[in-house]
Symmetry: C2
Subunit: 304 residues, 2 copies
DNA sequence: CATCCCGATAAGCTGAAGTTATGACAAACC
DNA sequence: GGTTTGTCATAACTTCAGCTTATCGGGATG
């Protein structure tokens, strides 16, 4: 049935070009009978002759001419395919689907995207910003290539690499600026504003205070760190935010930022991907870029 | 090297579609290991993975997706090629380059082209009208597919098929209408107008009168039968024309047309093509159409 | 922990595609 | 006009790519 082969196409093209079996065979690095047989077979499976064998020259038939045009197109497409593969072999492929948790995304991404596209201009970055459980699902389903989340996730099918650690800092109303930094136990008694259910940062903050998320508490759930800080500025309570958010979130609010004494509360941020991902190598490379980006950011924040 | 094969493309496409080695193999009518190996080989020769083998499903990589789009395009092109071959296998191919001698062309072609395109609408007919020697050269050089000429041509590399015979008739000024038809010998003594050197019809007419073309004679060479008849109408001399030309050429001239007594002078018109032409079968078929066309024309002429 | 699913690997077989040698035929050349 | 030459087709043989069946191994599932 459909037993046309690219090999036949390549031989055909050579013969069409040279108009001579011997020379076409030489150009194709095979013997003349081998070429004759392949051409014959091609003609037979098409059911129509492609060449007219004259005494002293080989000519394309009218059909052969049209055939040649299309065959050349196909061969060209195949070559393009090879080029494409060669191009994307070493460099990153065109599309990178990156998931990021909301407590990282707004602070890390602007710089990160800049750095990534600087390294590889034709990298097409798709960002998905949502909470860790959703990221994990989408990662498993192949709708994401990788994600930046708080470690550990402890999923056997996923590879984790640590990127950096970040401390949590206390955000209080400006009026509390001079007061001593409360201990975790004291925090429990203050009005602590937290992110709504689902955010890992909520759990991390609660765990620092030795609180259970399920405990019936009178706390106000915000949907973003930005909201929380604004509420603190309004004197409604206090909150914790990751160090990386300080520069952005406290710029437009009357709040005081205080570090906790050692051991500071902190979390580890890492990158994860499927064990089976063929992008592993490139993702490791990307992890390096993320690490660098975060480092530069933290230095810029440190003086604050 | 460039060892991609259409087979690999077809397997790849099946796997991309099914996302499952076993089912894709079944769909491709091969065993699962055979498919695994071909895919593996394809990935290796591309140097980049196409699929991510997950625990419970096989997914295209980002590169694989782009690859799939192009592969499908290529496979579609190949299928089109097969369709094209199938379509042109039985019917005539798109282009027919037909040579015709000038003493036939204007009388036969209008009806012939109509008949040919009626049979095969998408037949692209190219006409070349010139004298036999030029037609032969172009035929040998592959610039014509076939030619309609007077037989015999006696070229070993060419196939001839007879189409029809046509008689020559005498054209005299209207004033000579009643006079007896002169014998060939008498013709020699009259002022005989002939086509210029190179036309076979000139030689055929001369041979009827037992004259040598090279003889120094006081005859006037016309470049077309139309010219000759007009000159006869002006009383300059007499001429011979093929029967087929009568209807067209004597319509607008004051001339008398007379048949010779048996044995009438006549010539055989036939079709020729290269022995090696792969169009032989179709050309034979076309010869049939020409034969029919000429028959209808001669019947229409007979009553004149 | 046992089982199942599914793809990879192993080992062997077959036929397609290549090789060299030769045939056939037409053109070109003494 | 026979001989040589150029050229493609055919024949006989060889090799390796591609297929088969059998089996392994690893991750998901109950």
């Amino acid at each position: 049935m459909t037993n046309l082969t690219l090999k036949q196409f390549r031989y055909f093209e050579a013969l069409a070009r040279h108009g001579h079996f011997g020379r076409a065979a030489e150009a194709s690095a095979i013997s003349q009978p081998a070429l004759s047989m392949q051409i014959k077979e091609l003609e037979e499976s098409l059911g129509t002759p492609l060449f007219e064998r004259g005494a002293r020259q080989v000519r394309l038939t009218a059909f052969g001419e049209g055939f040649a045009i299309r065959v050349r197109e196909i061969l060209r497409s195949v070559e393009e395919l090879e080029d494409l593969a060669r191009a994307s072999r070493d460099r990153l492929t065109g599309r990178l689907r990156l998931g990021v948790i909301p407590t990282i995304a707004p602070y890390l991404l602007p710089a990160l995207i800049g750095n990534l596209t600087r390294i590889n201009a034709d990298l097409d970055i798709h960002i998905r910003e949502t909470v860790t459980p959703k990221l994990l699902t989408e990662l498993h389903e192949g709708r994401l290539d990788t994600a930046i989340v708080a470690l550990p996730v402890s999923e056997p099918a996923l590879t984790e690499v640590a990127l950096f650690s970040e401390s949590f800092v206390l955000v209080r109303p400006d009026s509390d600026a001079g007061k001593p930094v409360p201990s975790p136990e004291r925090l429990r008694e203050m009005r602590l504003l937290l992110l709504e259910e689902g955010h890992c940062f909520r759990d991390q903050a609660l765990s620092f205070c030795n609180l259970q998320s399920t405990l019936p508490r009178e706390l106000l759930d915000g949907s973003s760190l930005s909201t929380l800080v604004q509420m603190v500025g309004a004197g409604i309570g206090v909150t914790l935010i990751p160090e990386m958010a300080v520069a952005v979130e406290t710029r437009s609010a009357d709040v005081a930022v205080s570090h906790f004494p050692e051991p500071q509360p902190q979390r580890t941020i890492g990158m994860i991907w499927r064990n089976s991902s063929p992008l592993a190598q490139q993702l490791t490379q990307i992890a390096g870029v993320v690490r660098q980006t975060a480092e530069v950011l933290s230095k810029r924040i440190a003086p604050v």
